[in-house]
């Protein structure tokens, strides 16, 4: 598969691999791809990928093995967009629930909330993948049960083990531990459209008042990376190392707090629904801020309905994002003026304009400069206190090999990568 934009990055032509077969024996054509992608663009679509295609005006098959995507506005991130995990390929006219795809395993059994079992697709197009005859994905929601299933040898691979387990697992020769940087980030969102956070000095005070390293060590057992109040992770090609690192500085926090003219406690609505251990993090944040003379009042709110009643409603509350395939998509999704996910109500036409320009810029060096400016704008003025990026954790049996996670798709390809040694 290969792709090429036109000079304006508005029209993209994708060539499709030939000789790929669906699980039902049908050969993959451009019609299948167009149907599968347009499924998410339908008028009554309830797909989470609907927003991914917001700027797409047309997707159609232009040759048996070629599709053409037309955009309203230029977007050099389109190929990255196509990697969104919601965009699965099915046969033209097919039922998305049928589970007929071109992937490495054919679904044999699917009980929602219990188990999905796949047997190897002998005609899988990718060489050197899909080693196991059968792969089973089992739902074990209880974290202790999940870990004991691994320790007891019932499963070979688990997602989301307890970070505190890491120290124990590292000493256990029967297990392997993966602690990988990811684009997932934890933040406290301040509403910039109303008092008190419409004042940038108060926002800066809150940004200087958090001891990020302390949070990372004490709440997350060092499983993560320090955040710098913008959502671009260090492994992203558009990450700018020139943005100064914001360290915990009670004096600066005190200075900006005083300058803001705000007095009294800063209200923070907190629930663990915001992000993992948000309540513990907020409690430490309160201690850090107290050293700068800032009083944070913690208002505990219920986890139920958090995203409808607290997030984007209260002036100051925790939230998280799993990240996007590219920095451009992440900034587009949460920080542009018109985005429904703009949780801080930070609206800067200059930012929107520069981002649009950057998304149309095919020259990488120039793009990188623009992205530096975008990150700086968020760093200096944005409404997000973003103390850290969370790592993704996995634990496997020592018998398992071949795991090659990527920071963005983490374990999504584990099923086709893993194999058992001895």
């Amino acid at each position: 598969m290969e792709w090429n934009p036109d000079a304006t990055a508005k029209t993209w032509v994708f060539k499709i691999r030939s000789g790929v077969e669906f699980h039902n024996g049908k050969t993959l054509t451009a019609e299948d791809i167009a149907y599968s992608l347009n499924h998410h663009r339908k008028k009554d679509s309830k797909s989470l990928a609907r927003s991914v295609f917001a700027g797409v005006s047309d997707i159609k098959a232009t040759a048996p093995l070629e599709i053409t995507v037309t955009l309203d506005s230029a977007n050099v991130d389109l190929p990255g967009l196509m990697a969104d995990y919601h965009l699965l390929i099915m046969p033209d006219g097919g039922d998305p629930n049928a589970g007929i795809g071109t992937g490495p395993y054919v679904i044999e059994k699917f009980e929602p909330g219990v188990i999905v079992r796949g047997k190897r697709n002998e005609k899988y197009w990718k060489a050197g993948r899909a080693h196991a005859d059968v792969v089973e994905i089992i739902a074990i929601n209880d974290i202790v049960a999940r870990q004991s299933a691994l320790q007891g040898g019932v499963v070979h691979f688990i997602t989301r083990p307890d970070p505190k387990l890491g120290a124990l697992v590292k000493n256990n020769p029967a297990l392997k531990w993966f602690d990988l940087p990811s684009a997932m980030h934890y933040l406290f969102a301040m509403r910039c459209d109303s008092a008190p956070f419409d004042n940038n000095d108060l926002r800066l005070a809150m940004k200087y008042a958090v001891d990020r390293q302390d949070l990372l060590t004490r709440v997350y057992a060092n499983s993560g990376k320090l955040g710098n109040d913008h959502p671009v992770p260090a492994f992203d090609p558009m990450f700018s190392a020139e943005v100064p690192i914001r360290a915990y500085d009670p004096d600066k926090a005190k200075f900006h707090f005083k300058k803001s003219g705000f007095s009294g406690p800063v209200q923070l609505s907190v629930s663990d629904a915001g992000f993992t251990s948000a309540t513990a993090a907020a409690t430490l944040y309160k201690e850090h801020a107290a050293k700068a003379g800032i009083d944070i009042a913690l208002n505990r709110v219920p986890a139920d309905g958090y995203w409808s009643d607290v997030w984007k409603k209260k002036p100051f509350c925790p939230a998280y994002w799993g990240g996007r395939v590219t920095a451009g998509l992440m900034l587009q999704a949460v920080y542009t003026s018109q985005s429904p996910n703009n949780e801080t109500f930070w609206q800067r036409p200059a930012f929107d304009k520069l981002l649009a320009q950057a998304q149309a810029e095919l020259n990488v060096a120039r793009r990188k400069e623009m992205f530096h400016d975008l990150q700086m704008m968020l760093w200096e003025d944005g409404g997000t206190v973003q103390p850290l990026f969370a790592n993704t954790l996995f634990a496997t049996s020592a018998k398992v090999d071949g795991f090659a996670p990527s920071p963005l798709f983490t374990a999504f390809r584990a099923a086709e990568q893993l194999y058992l040694t001895s």
């Binding site: 309830k46 609907r50 074990i140 929601n141 049960a145 004991s148 019932v154 309905g305 958090y306 996910n341």
Partner: protein, 322 residues
Amino acid sequence: MNWGGRTLINVLAPRIVLAVLTLFIISLVIFFSVELLPGDTAEAMLGHDATVEALATLRRELQLDSPAYVRYWRWIIDLLHGDLGKSLSSGRAVSDLLAQRLPNTFFLAGFAALISVPLSFVLGVITALYRERAVDRGVNFVALAASSLPDFFVAYALILIFSVHLGWVPPISIISPESSLAERLYLTGLPALTLTFATSAYMLRMTRASILSLLSSPYIEMARLKGVSSGRVIVGHALPNALGPIANVTALTLAYLVVSVVVVETVFAYPGLGQLFVDSVSKRDIPVVQVVAMVFASTYIVLNLVADMVALAANPRLMHPR
């Protein structure tokens, strides 16, 4: 025999009517309390990443846009027509989910009952026989301690000992419709044991107490004076009269067993009704929550009725309340 014109039906009919009424009230309470929880199915399914249009479309599709009382009315009408509805999150028929999960839960509860009922009965008789002696105190201490610990703690402790350290049984109990009986018994050993710990103490102490209270009655004194051995006094004379209350407690414990599997199934990832219940609550999947709760409530009510009937059979005087 003359029952004074009253038959078993006369006694039971009002209870059955009451039971149906209770179920109806329970359905109201559950529907509207799930309704009171903030957030809805559409949100639980799509997460906070969803666009406003996608949420609106999904709400329309799931008919969440009509008021709660309308949805309740539709639900109850469908139910009376034998239609249990569809799961909002998976789109599968609730009756299919029940058909899959209910036998699993009854299997686990039944297995646990097969261990705990005879065990507590025998231990009850033994502790009555050797009351105030080391055996009695020891058994009582262990049973009370086990039933006072939370179910999940007992489950974790058993997993740690028998799965992680000894490696005798798997720590999770995923069974499938194809599993053989032997496999099922092997896989559900730990959860059944956990439930045994949770429920045995009550039955054991009831057995012991019923026997002991009879031991001071005149006819037992008489048997003793005749020179009957203490073992025979208990098994041959006291036990038959103690069976009523014991059976009563056993029926209630079984009801408790079916309901308390919720926690145990979650810990062992056992695909029963309890796990389905927990998953459905977190997804705000009201049709499933409703039906599962009704199943639990019905089990409780039916076993209560059984307990009443056993009490009646054991003590015909209750047929004639003054």
